[in-house]
Amino acid sequence: MYAIVIDDSSAMRMILRRTLSSMGFKVVDAVNGRDALDKLANLDYVPDVALIDWNMPEMDGLTFVQIVRDDPRYRRLSLLMVTTESEQSQIVRALAAGAHEYLIKPFTPDAVAEKLELLGLTTAGSLT
């Protein structure tokens, strides 16, 4: 399985890369929404999931979600926001914009695994 991690913090990209790799994902990363669109366009596959920070320079996560959601090329790409934004209204905005799921920072690896499970991306075989 393939993932793209989009966050302007290199520490957060590293943490998510480690977590996803341990779950068997091949990971590509990007530093903001604009960079992510460029990276996606240059891949010869569409990842299964994008983990997207909200507040980033150049193009924020919400804008990225809005753009990708309208692009038929990326229909199979699950959109998981991973952000500090935790107000109800913000989560509603993200879901309305097209995000499929939402994870609030800070988070544990179990929480990531369970969100991926909700997106139908089982990682370690089915939960017994």
Binding site: M23, S86, Q88, E101, I104, F107, P109, T128
Partner: protein, 282 residues
Amino acid sequence: MSIGSPEFSFVADLVRREAAIVLETGKEYLVEARLAPLARAAGVAGVNEFVRLVRQGTNPTHRWSIVEALTTNETSWFRDAAVFEGFRTELLPRLLQQRSPGQPLRIWSAAASTGQEAYSLAMMLTDELPPGQRFEILGTDISKEVLDRARAGQYSQMEMNRGLPARHLVRFFQRHGTGWLVDDRLKSHVQFREINLAGSLIGLPRFDVVFMRNVLIYFDLPTKQSILHRVRRLMAPDGYLILGTAETTRGIDEEFEQNRFGGLSAYRPTADEPAAALRRRA
């Protein structure tokens, strides 16, 4: 005293399978810390010996105790997606066919702990049931402390990250301090009560569905049988009993028959209860 690589791998595989917990290398210290009390209780020299013992044996309770020891305090919402999915798509329609809307659907969450299972069921039923169909959920546990938390319906940010679909989060909860609070509307469907399953079950209504997941494993065989027998008497004849995915009533009770619905195993009370009980007493 530190855990060996094969033992760590065994534990990591076990908890990954049973609880979707990921233990990367570097977490050996956590495994050692959490399993040391179990090793002591088992009377073995150290965690390595304990893990080897468990690995060689076939007792699911010992394996489960390892999983429990490594599970964080945050219980997940909608734990075991296949169970909730099977309940939604298979059990619920069947039950609703046999009932009139005036009859409330009654569900028992019999190891309710801090309430995530009970509230998860309430969210699902709010979404799935036809308008006018009432439902009531009773959550029970032996511990007053966890039930007080369940009644309060307040959960931390970390707990809210655990398996709760975001659309449910915004619909059924409100921000409350650093965490979130269950809406009154959802709470109105759920009650919590202290009950020891091995003790008296007097005063409980008849249930259409009983969720009794991963709690029977803590009882010895005679108590398990007694609990199943008394729970059966509290169930509608066309009701369902749902256990933990690693559990079964086979071998401990003839009063239930297993029905499989995809990833969900649900147990129906068999028709002739008195005969089975008589046979067992003989």
